[in-house]
């Protein structure tokens, strides 16, 4: 498990955006598999934070709030996509992820095979270093579910990437 760096208190929204937007965009790209979609979600999350910046700025963990907001948006989008897909084809067709990504990249291809929830759990715990409890808060699920999703994601990646067995 990697340790997250202690966040410095943000001075202004512009400073907060400057400090966090690239990392959030990368995380959302890994979760969605689509740069444009990741940028939309990132902007949505920052807009929501901006609208209430006076309150968010005083929080102990404004970054955690940002990620919770971003993941809420992500889950809402998933529901809309699934609902739309059900209406059209009668099942939840996912469309997507990393489909247009570089075919030469094994990791991108492997990530594309994972369900979005597994990707989100993996990115939060592995890339961003959140513990399962905090990741659970961000995703709105229990910590045991985060551990299970991340574990399934890692196992699937190992299989797809041919990594060593544990």
């Amino acid at each position: 498990m990697t340790e997250r760096e202690a966040p410095a208190p943000p001075a202004s929204f512009e400073g907060f955006f400057e400090a966090e937007h690239a990392r959030l965009l990368r995380a959302l790209y890994l979760v969605t598999g689509n740069v444009q979609e990741a940028e939309e979600l990132m902007q949505d999350a920052f807009l929501a934070v901006w609208e209430r910046w006076d309150r968010v700025a005083t929080m102990d963990e404004p970054v955690g709030y940002l990620y919770r907001t971003a993941m809420n948006r992500f889950r809402s989008r998933l529901r809309r996509v699934n609902r739309a897909a059900r209406k059209v084809v009668g099942s939840a067709a996912g469309g997507d992820a990393f489909a247009a990504a570089d075919e030469r990249d094994a990791l991108a291809r492997a990530l594309a095979t994972l369900p979005e929830r597994q990707r989100a759990a993996l990115v939060l715990t592995e890339l961003l270093g959140y513990g399962s409890e905090e990741a659970g808060r961000i995703l709105g699920v229990r910590d045991v579910t985060v551990r299970s999703l991340a574990s399934q994601a890692r196992a699937a990646l190992r299989e797809n990437l041919g990594g060593p067995d544990e």
Partner: protein, 643 residues
């Protein structure tokens, strides 16, 4: 830093924000505000023409699907004074008609003051403009506070008035000069991570950062503003480690309502007032109270994703609700919470699984190994002689992550035995599956031994699958020191599998690699067995130089693979042996095994192209037979015997 994290960071680098990222965010913000403005203009026009409620659909924000001013056919995302489009339109009509009793609706400051008095139940309020957000139509934020000379003692005996302000966000949801609506209420110490119009899922948690000290209780809950055929939920949540956690139970889908967190001061102890705070409900308790701090956000509730915990209420009088709900299985099983809302102890029974009880006011959460599908739950007062068969609820268990593995035996005649131990007996440590492999007698090489039911169930269950049929299951229990003791063993009557204190090994097919490989290999190649923990395999002419690898169990292995085929892609992967694969090797047939045979390789070797070498490193393997092949040319294959 782990290798996976490094790889993820590298892949994430593909998404690089532009230099103008902040400018684009500002542009988006302006566009969003313009959409709101356009929506408001359209609404005003339509209301003027015909007062049509359908106009509120025009508020839909093309940007993210949320509605800002209006909530579509369900109504508005607004808290007070009106929560529905119909009521708002009626209020606007009254103001336009010059109704003196409604004139205050056009005065934002007066709306704020009345809100403090009528909803927060303050004796009076100072209203101070805090900030204006927008371009037009602006959202105005006001800080409300109790005047210093006011007394709250008249409301609640010996109470001091709130010292921190409550902030409200107000917007004219109709035309720009229309009546004012309060769209959000918030206090600094209760920062709900939601925005107006957001979707909130049933079955999820809402985590609220708070500055309140540990142990302080906050009233949290949700309420429905539209006709959702549901009642609100009021709960007491304790602050812990700077966080308030509120569990959103199953909710009617697509209902509009609000989520709140509140510190009420009452003269009657804890009281549930949050779920009808913003309505003129006659059911509001006739008690003295005022609100010290509150955050309330109007949202849309959705329920197309099932809950992680099935929340059921039983009052002991023959009512269990909701009568039908859906729950998503978790890694340790299906979570069911029964709240006894009555005044007598209740017991509940989950058909085919078991039961439990709850005391009045208690919420009892238990975990069950229920398969996906429908389950029936009965509940009734214990004093009434047990559960009331007339009171049942249907629970639909879904398993989106395919966690559940059946443990039913595939045979007509079943034999069972239960473990019997002296007090203080110690079990076998380690993974329950490995314990089963080591201590079940009568296993054969082709047997698949794997975890059954849910993978993190408190009482592990392991099943034995032989030729595709479940022939035995063993249930373990914890000896209290991390060891596993056999609780019960079930098996098909014609399958002699038992439990053994001593490591039992496997029976059936012999492990002698000399015999096995000689028997199974093509005549003339029987001397071509590669043995050891550092193996070397040559690939030539789209084949391997051996069909039989022999390696020690429990040690890391390496395979040096030399591809001698020019410009040809080759690799070596290792799979679990199955009867089908064994037939292929033994008979040299080209039959097609089921696709799942190759879905989960034990090891997948990197593909190399042309004349080159690669060293594959494998973790320790368990004793048994395995199958290896070139994934690009599966006809190149063989046995890996680990013993």
């Amino acid at each position: 830093m782990s290798e996976l994290r490094t790889d993820l960071e590298r892949l994430g680098e593909r998404a690089r924000p532009g230099q103008d990222a902040f400018e684009r965010l500002e542009h988006r913000r302006r566009r969003k505000a313009r959409n709101r403005r356009l929506g408001a203009g359209i609404l005003a026009l339509v209301l003027t023409v015909g007062g049509s409620l359908a106009a509120f659909d025009a508020f839909r924000d093309a940007g993210d699907g949320r509605t800002i001013g209006g909530g579509g056919s369900d109504g508005l995302f607004a808290l007070w004074p009106e929560q529905t489009a119909a009521d708002l339109a009626a209020a606007q009509e009254r103001v336009d008609a010059g109704d003196p009793g409604s004139a205050w609706r056009a005065d934002g400051m007066e709306v704020a003051r009345r809100f403090a008095i009528e909803v927060l139940q303050w004796p009076d309020a100072l209203v101070v403009h805090r900030e204006t957000v927008g371009p037009k139509p602006y959202t105005y934020h006001f800080d409300l506070s109790v005047p210093r000379d006011a007394s709250c003692d008249q409301i609640v005996s010996n109470a001091t008035c709130p010292t921190s302000p409550v902030t409200i966000a107000m917007r004219s949801l109709g035309r720009q000069d229309g009546v004012w609506s309060i769209v959000e209420v918030y206090s600094e110490e209760l920062a709900l991570p939601l925005v107006a119009g957001e979707e909130v899922e049933g079955g999820t948690r809402i985590s609220v950062p708070t500055n309140l000290p540990d142990g302080e209780k906050v009233s949290m809950g949700l309420a429905f503003l539209t006709a959702c055929d549901a009642t609100g939920i009021d709960d007491n949540v304790e602050a812990s480690n700077g966080m308030l956690e509120f569990y959103v139970p199953a909710v009617p889908d697509a209902c509009t309502g609000y989520v709140y967190a509140m510190l009420p001061k009452t003269g009657a102890g804890a009281v549930a007032i949050g779920s009808f705070l913003f309505t003129d409900a006659p059911a509001r308790p006739a008690i003295g109270y005022f609100v010290e701090a509150i955050t309330a956000i109007p949202v849309r509730f959705v329920n197309d994703v099932s809950a992680e915990v099935a929340e059921l209420t039983c009052d002991g009088t023959g009512v269990i609700s909701p009568s039908r709900s859906t729950v998503s299985a978790q890694a340790d099983g299906v979570h069911i919470a029964i709240t006894d809302s009555g005044e007598v102890p209740v017991s509940f029974t989950i058909v085919g699984a078991g039961g439990d009880g709850a005391e009045p006011g208690e919420r009892k959460e238990t975990v069950w190994q229920l398969p996906p599908g429908d389950a029936t739950i009965y509940c009734g007062a214990i004093s009434g002689g047990g559960t009331d068969a007339s009171s049942s609820a249907n629970l639909n268990v879904v398993d989106p992550n395919r966690l559940y593995v059946p443990a039913g035996l595939d045979c007509a005649s079943v034999v069972g035995e239960a473990g019997s131990y002296a007090e203080g007996a110690t079990g076998f440590s380690g993974d329950p599956v490995q314990v089963a492999r080591d201590h079940l007698s009568g296993l054969e090489f082709d047997d698949l031994v794997e975890r059954a039911l849910y993978p993190e169930s408190e009482q592990p269950v392991v099943r034995v699958v032989r030729d595709g049929a479940v022939v035995a299951t063993v249930r373990f229990f914890d000896d209290g020191h991390g060891g596993w003791l056999v609780d019960s063993l079930g098996r098909c009557a014609d399958t002699p599998i038992g439990s053994s204190e001593e490591p039992a090994g496997v029976s059936g097919a012999p492990v002698d690699p000399g015999v096995l490989c000689i028997d199974l290999q093509v005549p003339g190649e029987s001397d071509n067995i590669h043995e050891g923990s550092d193996l070397h395999v040559d690939g030539r002419h789209i084949d391997f130089d051996t069909g039989c690898l022999v390696a020690p169990a429990g040690e890391p292995l390496t395979i040096l693979f030399s591809n001698l085929d020019e410009a040809v892609q080759r690799n070596i992967s290792i799979y679990t042996m199955t009867p089908c694969l064994r037939d292929i090797l033994a008979e040299g047939t080209s039959q097609v095994c089921p696709p799942e045979t190759f879905e989960l390789p034990i090891f997948r070797g990197e593909i190399i192209t042309g004349v080159s070498e690669i060293v594959y490193e494998l973790g320790p393997l368990e004793r048994g037979e395995y199958y290896f092949q070139d994934d690009v040319h599966p006809a190149a294959n063989g046995f890996l015997i680990v013993g």
